[in-house]
Symmetry: C2
Subunit: 236 residues, 2 copies
DNA sequence: CGCTTTATTATGTGCAGACATATTGCCTCC
DNA sequence: GGAGGCAATATGTCTGCACATAATAAAGCG
C-alpha cells in the first residue's frame, strides 16, 4: 500500500516539482529563461500538454512568468500569491475548536445609509437593513459584525429571524454573489465595539470589510471587528 | 478589432461562465448535483477535457465540490478563496503611485533570538541578523520592518550594504524559499514603532508577519507594521 | 445479518496532433 | 534611419482517445 502518492515519473506534478526544484536551487535563477515546452517535454519524455499543465500551475502561483513567443522565465519579482480562505464565521469558530454562539445586538431598517457614502455603487435612497451582531466562541466575544443589506436584492431577509440565524449565514444560504471585495485593516475600537468585545475603547481591533455584488448590484457590506489577539493566517 | 475577448462558444472559459451563471441564478442551487462531464460535454458540443478544465477552475475557486465517482455538486458552504498578492514593498509603494524611500534603523548580529521562542523551528544558538528599517512613501513613513535572518542560510547578507538595498529586496534577489507562512493581525504600536511611524504609542497598527523556509530550514522572519490607515485589499 | 469482494462510475490524468493567438524581430520600402 | 508589413515562434487551447484512480453500489458469502 502506497502511503505516499506514487505519481509516476511523467505526471504533471512530477514536472512541477522538478522545475520548482531547479528554480529554488538557483539552477534557473530569477530572470532566467527556461526551456520551451517542446524541449522540456522531450527531456521529461512526456507530451507537451503535460509540461504545459505543470508550467501553468507555476505561473498561477507567481513563480514563473509566461508570455507567448517571448517564452517562460523565472519571475524576477516573485509576487507570491497567498490564498485567504474566507469561511462563514460559524465554521471559522468551530474549525478552531470552539463552540459557536451568536447574539443579535440591533436591527433596523434605514433609508439613507449615510456611513456608506464612500461606496459609490450603493443605492442612494433604497431601503437598507442594518444589523449589528456579536459572534461568540465558547461564550466569549469573538467578533463584532456591522452589516448593511440591500433590501432590493434580498427583501425576504426582512422576515427572517436574525436572532436565530446570523445575517451572515442567512445570506450565504439565500443569495448568491458574483464578486466581492475584501479589505483588511487595523482600527481603534469605538465605545460600542469595545463594550461588546470586552476591551478598552481605542484598543486595536482587526477589521475585515467585505462588499459583495451580484453582477452590478451591491448586496451587502459588512465589517467584522476582531480583538487584537485575532490572527488571520495563510501559507504560501 | 475585438475589444472584448472573442472566446468562441466552445472554450473552457465559455463553459466556466455558463456554469457559474447557472449557479448564481440558482438554477443549480447550493448542494445540488450538476451533470457529469460527459453530459455537459455533449450539451456544449465540446470534448470532455474542455469541460474538465472549466470545472477544475470552478472547484479551485471553491464554487463547486468534486469527488470521484460521487460527482460534482454546488458547494454548500462557499468557502470562497481570495488571493492576496504579497509584493516587495518597493513595488507596493510604487504601485500606489508613491516614490519609494528606505532607511536602515538598526542592524546587529545576535546569537540567541529570545523573542523568537514561539517559532519552534528557529535555530536555538545560531547567529542571526536582526535588522530594523523604515520604508517610506513620498518621504513619509510607510511601514516599519523588523526582521531576523538566519545567517546559516544566507551568510553573504552579512557583507551586504543594507543601508542601500533593503533586506527585503536583498533576500528576494539572493535566496529562494520553498514555503512561507503569513499572519495578519492588529496590534498596538510600541514606543519605538510609534516614533518612526509618527503615531501615538499604543495606537493601532496593521501587522503582517511572514516566515519563510527553504525546505525545513527557516530563512527569515519579518514583521511589517503599518499605520492604521493602511489597507490590504483583494477581490473575489 | 454484517462483512468482504467485486463491478460500476465519475473524475483525474496522459498523449499525439492540430489550430489559434500573441509577440517579437526581421525585412522591406520609403 | 524610421515606419509598416510579414514571417517565425512559444504559448494557449481543443479534440478524441486511452487508461488510472477513487469511491460508491452491488453482489457474494460466512
Amino acid at each position: 500500500m502506497p502511503s505516499e502518492a506514487p505519481e509516476g515519473p511523467f505526471s504533471w506534478k512530477h514536472i512541477h516539482r522538478e522545475v520548482l526544484w531547479r528554480i529554488q536551487s538557483r539552477e534557473w535563477p530569477p530572470g532566467a529563461m527556461i526551456p520551451n515546452e517542446v524541449d522540456l517535454a522531450e527531456e521529461f519524455g512526456c507530451a507537451r500538454a503535460t509540461v504545459n499543465r505543470a508550467l501553468r500551475e507555476l505561473a498561477r502561483s507567481g513563480v514563473i512568468d509566461r508570455r507567448r513567443k517571448a517564452g517562460t522565465r523565472v519571475a524576477l519579482n516573485p509576487v507570491r500569491r497567498a490564498t485567504l480562505e474566507i469561511p462563514v464565521i460559524r465554521q471559522e469558530v468551530e474549525g478552531r475548536g470552539g463552540t459557536y454562539g451568536y447574539a443579535l445586538l440591533s436591527r433596523e431598517i434605514v433609508s439613507s445609509p449615510a456611513d456608506m457614502s464612500d461606496l459609490a455603487a450603493w443605492p442612494e435612497d433604497a431601503h437598507v437593513l442594518h444589523v449589528r451582531a456579536l459572534h461568540l466562541s465558547d461564550g466569549r466575544p469573538y467578533a463584532h459584525e456591522d452589516r448593511w443589506v440591500n433590501l432590493e436584492v434580498a427583501p425576504e431577509i426582512e422576515g427572517a429571524d436574525l436572532g436565530e440565524v446570523s445575517a451572515n449565514e442567512w445570506l450565504v444560504r439565500n443569495v448568491s454573489y458574483s464578486r466581492g471585495r475584501i479589505v483588511l485593516s487595523a482600527g481603534a475600537a469605538d465605545a460600542r465595539i469595545a463594550e461588546v468585545l470586552g476591551c478598552e475603547s481605542g484598543a486595536p481591533v482587526f477589521q475585515i470589510e467585505r462588499t459583495t455584488w451580484l453582477h452590478e448590484t451591491p448586496i451587502t457590506w459588512v465589517r467584522l471587528s476582531y480583538p487584537a489577539s485575532h490572527r488571520l493566517s495563510t501559507s504560501i
